[in-house]
Symmetry: C2
Subunit: 98 residues, 2 copies
DNA sequence: CATACTAGTTTGCAGCACAAACTAGTTTGT
DNA sequence: ACAAACTAGTTTGTGCTGCAAACTAGTATG
């Protein structure tokens, strides 16, 4: 197996999913943001977005902080250190592959 | 939704799967090759490779030609025109996204 | 005070990737 | 000649996972 194929086969599957890739791109560009921002930017539905975020939390890539804006519940999202590192590796993998 | 996210969300899911990406890279580099070449290069198992190839045939991206090398059955694989086009679009999409 | 809205989460299902088991035929060993 | 092992794949079964619909809990509105 050559370098290029190796790079492809080692791509992190948790990140590789397009829905989650979008989340990484958005969270990678800011310190933090809220659920609704991601919802609007990605044009996913809530259920979908919610489960992708849970998956990313589970993987240790995203921190989910539940708070309130006034009386309204608000969910703040943030990439963890591990999340940023993993995303960097993913992008390097892509570059090596294409 | 911005350009970058749009590019991600429009990535062709049939191609996006790493196992199939490897097949595209290999078939993209040659006119045709056989099953065993793909098997060794990708380091997949046969079942896996076989079903990915069926998926790609179904999508119209790969042609599967069954022949013999002497008395031994041999399967020749080849990207279709549609397959090459789709792979080009996929790579452009990736570039637009990263 | 009930109806509608907000901000999500949970549930149910369909599709998919994966490996183990199977198939069909060929070669090798005795 | 006949069985055992090998070759070149395909089919089957299972568990995961992406997705949307349905649900929950609370808030604002008519």
């Amino acid at each position: 197996m050559n370098e290029q194929l190796r790079a492809i086969s080692e791509l992190d599957r948790v990140i590789h999913e397009p829905g989650r890739l979008m989340i990484f791109v958005l969270l990678g560009a800011v310190e933090e943001c809220d659920f609704l921002y991601l919802l609007h930017e990605t044009e996913m539905n809530k259920g979908n977005l919610s489960s992708h975020l849970s998956r990313l939390e589970e993987a240790g890539y995203v921190e989910i902080e539940k708070t309130y804006r006034g009386k309204v519940p608000q969910t703040i999202l943030r990439l963890t250190r591990a999340g940023r590192t993993a995303f960097d590796r993913y992008r390097k993998g892509l570059k090596a592959a294409f």
